[in-house]
Symmetry: C2
Subunit: 154 residues, 2 copies
């Protein structure tokens, strides 16, 4: 069980963290460049949640890099418990933010046709930011499952 790909302190884990942070940052950048996003709670929440995701993933990426450099093993029960709690909290928040942003985007696009009525509304950017958020969540969920599995196998 200890040979799981993507566990902390390995190259797989490092790339997973960097991917999460990069996608979360892309989501924030696209959403922040969309005019008028601040008027919608779901989009503000998406930025807040992706910010937390980016900070958490970047922090753990630094830890992974350090562990790789000094060849330290991060597989101990206390550290993994900490990662499990953090990963699950960020993954659940990211998923909630992605889903509520997706709900609002679909509403604008299809149900109340805001995108066709108000040309100044940057619907394309809302969609792109939501897509990046979902991708970031997918990597974050992968990490969360790996950590939970590691913890259960101690």
């Amino acid at each position: 069980m200890r040979e799981l790909v993507g566990r902390p302190g390995t190259w797989g884990g490092l790339w997973l963290r960097l991917g999460q942070a990069a996608l979360a940052a892309a989501s924030i950048a696209v959403m922040a460049s969309a005019n008028g996003f601040a008027g919608y709670t779901a989009f503000c929440y998406l930025i807040a949640s992706m910010g937390l995701q980016a900070l958490w993933s970047l922090g753990l990426a630094c830890l992974d890099g350090y562990a790789l450099k000094v060849k330290r093993d991060l597989n101990n029960a206390v550290l993994v418990s900490l990662f499990v709690v953090g990963d699950w909290v960020t993954a659940i928040l990211s998923f909630a933010a992605s889903c509520s942003a997706a709900g609002v985007t679909v509403l604008f696009e299809r149900d109340i046709s805001f995108c066709r009525r108000y040309y100044e509304l940057p619907c394309g950017r809302f969609q792109l930011a939501t897509a990046f958020a979902f991708l970031s969540w997918a990597l974050s969920a992968t990490s969360a499952v790996i950590m939970f599995w590691l913890l259960a196998s101690f």
Copy 2:
């Protein structure tokens, strides 16, 4: 590990399943009684997802009841793997549906003030149905975590 509360084939498991099914059914009933819900994708998806949740939970409640009656042990790896997959799929779908419905409800209530402008919109029912969906998801997530833990401890 095998003494986990809420594992399949116990009274705890049975009550957990019945709670999930009842809350999902309540969410469907409230949403279906709200006029005009069918015009919004997020609310239709909430009904579909809660329908799946209610069917799955009711099916497993019957299985738990049967196992209690004939005193059969359901803790084998094949059955638990099946429960893990089903529970995780339904829990993720329920959470996605709850979050997107919540996103749309908050948008109506606060951001674009549809609830104040269109008095015929049953915002109270939308909120109640969303709250029931979140409660159903909370129980479903509990089951999913218990099942995953059971599987990892085999």
